[in-house]
């Protein structure tokens, strides 16, 4: 079955990232499942499944130190209250793009579409947008200049 990088991100990478952020908020920041649900715009049962690792498991990102650094940054921002829902969307989107560009989803992509294996496919590295993780800062040149 063919699946574009964006479809792969929507189906597997973003749920995995949301799951890691939820787990970080529950385990390290000691927030309740309801509070995490409010912060992430999810239902409380969904947070419970994420926190238990029963959702967002299509791709394994927990052992990627660079991805965990982004997850900790997002969770920290949410817990401190200096990252809002819009900011979180931007960072999740940028983190998903990062995962694609680093080739972390290539194995999963090859399982979904076996024709990609050994084909030299580099679609995710070449067709995705450049990193925009700090977009809110870049969109405010005065903030950068201050």
């Amino acid at each position: 079955m063919q699946e574009t990088p964006q479809e792969l991100a929507a189906r597997a990478i973003l749920p995995a990232l949301r799951g890691l952020v939820a787990r970080e908020l529950v385990r390290d920041h000691k927030l309740t499942h309801q509070k995490v649900a409010d912060l992430l715009g999810l239902s409380r049962p969904a947070v419970t499944l994420y926190a238990r690792g029963q959702r967002g498991r299509a791709i394994e990102l927990r052992r990627r130190a660079d991805v965990l650094m982004m997850v900790q940054d997002m969770a920290g921002g949410l817990a401190r209250g200096d990252l809002d829902a819009r900011g979180l969307m931007g960072k999740l989107d940028a983190a998903a793009t990062y995962v694609l560009r680093k080739g972390y989803a290539c194995e999963l992509h090859g399982q979904i579409d076996p024709e990609l294996r050994g084909s030299g496919c580099d679609l995710c590295m070449t067709a995705t947008l450049p990193c925009n993780y700090f977009h809110p800062w870049r969109s405010d040149p005065h903030e950068v200049a201050r």
């Binding site: 990062y98 680093k102 990193c131 700090f134 903030e143």
Partner: protein, 90 residues
């Protein structure tokens, strides 16, 4: 005046946004009065690292770009002043 960095962060192999996040983390641990040098090939770091330095209440002493190696080198100092400790960057 020469500023020899006490901490050196080599992020030349890291892609955006990792150099900025590593800089942010290093700044949180850097004691007041100490300096941090960051090397990166991430083109957006020239925008993002000055912003994170400002947000952390630290000082960007210098920023040099080497077009041959496509490397930007930042020298950052955590100022010795009230509120400039690690907690200030949170």
């Amino acid at each position: 005046m020469t500023h020899a960095p006490e901490v050196v962060l080599d992020c030349r192999e890291d892609a955006c946004p990792i150099p900025v996040l590593r800089t942010k983390e290093a700044l949180q641990k850097l004691p007041p009065g100490r300096t941090l040098e960051v090397m990166t090939k991430d083109p957006m770091a020239t925008v993002d690292i000055p912003a994170v330095v400002h947000k952390a209440g630290a000082t960007l002493v210098s920023m040099k770009e080497d077009p041959d190696t496509e490397t930007a080198t930042f020298l950052i100092r955590r100022d010795v002043s009230p509120g400039s400790g690690p907690q200030a960057s949170r």
